[in-house]
């Protein structure tokens, strides 16, 4: 089922004595979520992701705007009739029910033709429990589970009823890498197989990018960019999106375009075409640095961090916004940690220029 | 076993120390009674500045009794309290609770009319003998009478005559029943012919205890012996109950407990014979100074006050009732002496006359009765409808004239219950016919059993009587006990099972 959000806005009354006006949690969000796709919702903490999910599932009433499921306006439909499944950021497991009862709970709500026999229910429940590997915990109460286990129960509970629309609010935040990967792939697999339209909130951009069909980047309630993950990564529309995606984050330099060249400090680091002379923000992805003995960008070396398969070269530069510049290189690259400076060349496709005033992207002609 | 030591009077009232004594009093029908108590206290305190009297008012003798009982256990009894002789009998089961007054009364200095008194108290022979007699138990005097009253019948003479009867000199039960029956005739709309109202209860008795007691006395039938043997349940009683039932059935008779104050009905023209204490006389009659009902409801009629109905008009019998005062024992004899002085003060003419003028009460001393002030009061009967309200003064007269015809019931521990029981018989029978139940021998039998156990008449004095053989447990009790036992067996079984489970687990 495709979901249309039209001008969706949600305001909360403010409490902050100093600030005034409402907290605008979601601000005129318009977007058509294609049928059967998995959408990743990304953004910094407090940008309105959970609120958006709450609006879609009907737990919050929008201050403005409409929501359509398919062609039908569901803006005023109470949540229990929307047929959505949801994993809450805080799990919201029923504390008085065992894990099994928690998972069975949505199934027991089915009415009419949908109604399942007891054994079918159990079957479905244990299947869902299997997906997230909690078969051993079926008789425990939520309070006797670890954080990750609780989260897995919440996922099983959302999946078990095979909803029309699946909303996942940071469903994997408490899982370890392996389980996270596994679960995320299970979710992806189920989603692909059942074509349930899914919205997946995560702060982990790698996660978002690897499983989403499209990602939506939000900031303070306002959508910044929507697109295929790699497109957004490779072609951010503004400084915020560029900064937001990528770990380690993009490195931002004070730069100048002078005579068709980007200069950082005194060094002309990259030729750019079709951009009038002006001050700019220059963003360089960590993998945009090439270790080069005679590279134009000279930074003072702080150290090298090893991160499993890669090394991260940590350095500083007076014109860099980031306190530390991180450049990623394969761990086979040797860096002389004794030396004081390190010199880089920049890969053109990994460098983006942004307007100094509003942070909008400046594209080469 | 309780016993009362006789009290030895101190040589001299110690005026150097302050004494505080508590006086528990009852004010029944009239606000001014409170003021009279208060005035008596102020006056007394001016005479004896070192004695302070704290007044605590009750509206119910029963409450005083309950509180005294409670306070006997904690040794915090009041110093002086208004009471019924019945109750004193119970107080006496405690150790040295109530001071026997014989010694005090006769003490030349602080006794009645004693030389050291600062006020004019009556001599012992100035207290009406019968009244003082009522206050003696086992040969000792434990209280002084404070006020006396009796019952009288307040009659709507207009209606009696309208029904074609004339009042005899002395009322008889037969007469009352007959007139009452006659008054129950109704017209086609269901209104009573006699008053044209929808309500008419020709005969209402306020205190059914007294009704039964007096009827039995008039019939010379058994009620109780002096040593507490109960004779209430006898054939005469049964006979009387049948009569009462018969008239209750026709709607000719009702009681206060079932209906309401007789005065309200009488004044509204809804009752012809209202029997109530003479102490309630100010409420009775067309011109009653006190009333529960509004002006509009009053009906004009001629009110007659007569002696209660008799079986033998030649030898009328009526009950004597009214509060007495007793003194409680304290460690400090001086305190007791102070209490005694105050008690005596209540018998002075000022207090006696003032109080008796509030209602149809009679002073208990001849000194007061014969005093010009009181005689003047009596003589001004009917001068106004307040202080000299004729019904009230007539009611007082009734007792003054018939002191010799009064009687009191024997007093023993449990006599109060017996009183209640005799009233209860009348109430139950009346209620039963109202509920359309048959009053027959079987009913009466059950009634006697019920009432006897309700008032514990079978074991009037638990301290003296031993255990009775109670026979086998009734089935309900067995059911109750076995339920409890069963429940505990189950609970224990459950707990043990739980514990076993836990044990097995670890």
């Amino acid at each position: 089922m495709k979901i249309q959000l039209q001008n969706l806005t949600k305001k909360f009354p403010n409490r902050n004595k100093k600030a005034q006006g409402d907290v605008i949690a979601v601000d005129h969000f318009t977007y058509e979520i294609p049928d059967g796709k998995l959408i990743g919702l990304l953004g910094p903490s407090g940008c309105g992701k959970s609120t958006t999910l709450n609006l879609i599932c009907g737990l919050e009433k929008p201050t403005e705007g409409q929501i359509f499921f398919g062609d039908r306006d569901v803006t005023k439909l109470p949540p229990e009739h929307r047929g959505v499944g949801m994993v809450f950021q805080n799990y919201a497991l029923y504390p008085h029910l065992s894990v099994k009862q928690n998972i069975l709970f949505p199934l027991e709500n089915f009415k009419g033709e949908q109604k399942l026999s007891k054994s079918e229910m159990l079957e479905r429940a244990s299947q869902a429990a299997g997906l997230v590997q909690i078969e051993d915990l079926m008789d425990r109460k939520p309070s006797e589970l670890s954080g990750g286990q609780q989260q897995r129960v919440a996922i099983a509970r959302a999946l078990v009823k095979m909803p029309h629309v699946l909303l996942l609010d940071e469903p994997l935040s408490n899982l370890d890498a392996r389980l996270r990967l596994q679960t995320r792939e299970e979710i992806r697999k189920i989603q692909r197989a059942t074509q349930i339209t899914t919205v997946f909130v995560t702060h982990d951009q790698e996660e978002a990018m690897s499983i989403s069909d499209e990602i939506v980047v939000m900031k303070q309630g306002v959508v910044q960019q929507i697109g295929k993950p790699q497109e957004v990564y490779d072609d951010p529309v503004n400084l915020f999106v560029a900064k937001f995606l990528g770990t380690p984050p993009i490195n931002i330099f004070h730069g100048k375009v002078q005579n068709g060249r980007l200069t950082i400090g005194k060094a002309a680091v990259l030729p750019v075409s079709g951009i009038p002379d002006q001050e700019v923000w220059a963003g360089v992805r960590p993998e945009g640095f090439l270790l080069q003995e005679d590279g134009p960008l000279s930074c003072s070396l702080n150290g090298v961090e090893v991160m499993g398969r890669d090394i991260s070269i940590v350095s500083t530069h007076p014109d860099c916004e980031n306190t530390l510049i991180r450049a990623i290189a394969g761990s086979e690259n040797g860096v002389n940690t004794a030396s004081e400076t390190v010199r880089f060349a920049l890969k053109p496709g990994k460098v983006f220029l942004f307007d100094k005033n509003n942070g909008e992207r400046i594209r080469e002609a | 076993k309780g016993g009362q030591k006789s009290f030895s009077i101190p040589e001299q009232l110690d005026t150097s120390r302050q004494y505080e004594i508590t006086f528990w009093a009852k004010n029944d029908t009239n606000k001014t009674q409170t003021d009279i108590y208060k005035k008596a206290i102020t006056d007394f305190q001016t005479l004896y500045p070192n004695i302070t009297v704290n007044l605590r008012l009750y509206t119910d003798y029963g409450k005083i009794y309950n509180d005294v009982i409670t306070n006997i256990a904690t040794d915090t009894t009041p110093n002086v309290c208004i009471t019924y002789p019945d109750h004193i009998a119970t107080y006496l089961t405690g150790n040295s609770t109530v001071v026997p007054l014989d010694g005090l009364i006769t003490d030349p200095r602080y006794g009645l009319g004693g030389s050291e008194l600062l006020f004019d108290s009556p001599r012992q022979d100035e207290i009406i003998e019968q009244f003082l007699e009522e206050c003696s138990l086992n040969g000792q005097i434990y209280a002084l009478p404070f006020m006396r009253s009796t019952e009288s019948c307040y009659i709507n003479k207009t209606y009696v005559e309208k029904l074609g009867y004339t009042l005899p000199d002395t009322l008889t039960w037969d007469f009352i029943w007959e007139v009452s029956e006659a008054a129950t005739a109704k017209d086609a709309d269901g209104n009573y012919l006699i008053n044209g109202q929808s309500v008419m209860i020709p005969f209402i008795y306020k205190s059914t205890d007294n009704m039964m007691i007096q009827m039995l006395k008039q019939k010379d039938a058994g009620y109780a012996s002096a040593n507490g043997e109960i004779q209430l349940f006898n054939d005469t009683t049964t006979q009387l109950l049948y009569t009462i039932a018969e008239h209750a059935k026709s709607g000719a008779f009702s009681t206060f407990k079932i209906s309401s104050y007789p005065a309200n009905f009488l004044n509204a023209g809804q009752c012809i014979f209202a029997i109530d204490s003479t102490a309630g006389a100010t409420w009775m009659g067309t011109n009653a100074p006190l009333s529960d009902i509004s002006e509009e409801a009053f009906v004009d009629f001629e009110t007659e006050v007569m002696m209660i109905p008799q079986f033998d008009p030649e030898h009328p019998r009526m009950i004597s009732q009214g509060p007495s005062v007793c003194v409680f024992n304290k460690k400090d004899p001086q305190e007791v002496l102070a209490s005694w002085l105050f008690t005596q003060y209540l018998l002075t003419n000022e207090v006696q006359i003032a109080y008796s003028e509030t209602e149809g009460y009679v002073p208990v001393t001849s000194k007061a009765q014969d005093s010009p002030a009181y005689q003047d009061y009596l003589s001004r009967c009917g001068e106004d409808n307040a202080l000299h309200y004729d019904v009230k003064i007539k009611a007082s007269r009734l007792l003054l004239d018939h002191v010799d015809d009064t009687f009191v019931t024997p007093v023993f521990n449990g006599s109060a219950s017996l009183r209640s029981a005799s009233g209860q018989l009348v109430e139950e029978v009346t209620k039963a016919v109202r509920r359309k139940k048959e009053v027959n021998a079987a009913f009466i039998n059950d009634l006697y059993d019920d009432v006897a156990s309700l008032y514990h008449l079978n074991e009037s004095s638990p301290a003296s009587a031993g255990k009775a053989d109670l026979g086998p447990l009734p089935p309900t009790a067995i059911a109750l006990l076995s339920c409890l036992a069963g429940a505990w067996v189950l609970i224990l079984a459950y707990i043990i099972r739980q514990a076993m489970k836990k044990l097995r687990k670890t």
Partner: protein, 302 residues
Amino acid sequence: MKNDNSFSGSGKAWLYLLPAFLFLGVFMIYPLIDVFIYSFEEGYNFASQTSFGTGGYNYSYVLHDPYFLQAVKNTFLLVLITVPVSTGLALLISVALSSVKPLRDLFQTIYFLPYVTNTLAVGLVFMVLFKKTAYSDGLVNLLIHWFGGSSVDFIDGPYWAKMTVLCLYTIWVVMPFKILILTSALASVNQNYYRAAQVDGTSKLRIFTRITLPMISPMLFYLVITGFIGAFKAYSDAVALFGTDLNAAGMNTIVGYVYDMLYGSSGGYPSYASAAAILLFAIVLTITCINLLISRKHVHYI
């Protein structure tokens, strides 16, 4: 860091409990022991503070006394009728109350009113409403007439009529407390669970039975236990309606029986009163134990 191991655990807990236990000890437990002793002293007399022996005679007497048995029966009936009815009704009203917005405050205030007033006064009003006098049948009978029934004397009439009034009055009196407790219990349920259940498509009824009820079960259970105990201790309600002579009215309760025995004429029968009280204590203790055991299964603490 100061190590005060010695002061942790039991010691501390008992310190917290000390004031409560001190007061309870002096004003509840000590009197209870007193009563227990009385209950075995045969024929104890308050005034003289003497008895004629020790033994179980008091119990035997009380168990033989038809008035005691009547009181037991009345009390059980009262408990069995009023506790479920009032708790159920209070639950219904509280749920209704929390499901509406407009006028909620007004209703809440109204419902609490009975708690504030003197029960004696309200008892009188009830009596006026139900009593049949020479003049009128009373308001309730008027209503019964309207619906085509014939009038009943509720105050002096047949047993079931009196019991009905007593139950109605008791329910009326205990409702405000129950509504108060239940509405605040309902309000304190974490909204997250409702949200989750709603998203799961749960019907209102099921949310109520599967989420709300278990969540408020501790409070509900509190009400049931205290309701039981309270109803077993009923006395003043009956007095307000039927006057002090409850035995005669056949409407006595166990506590009323105890009270009458204590203060009855002839100096009271404290030993019988004590025996009856201990029996009452045993009954209520049993029922509370059963309640507690049941609660272990059905009450959910979060």
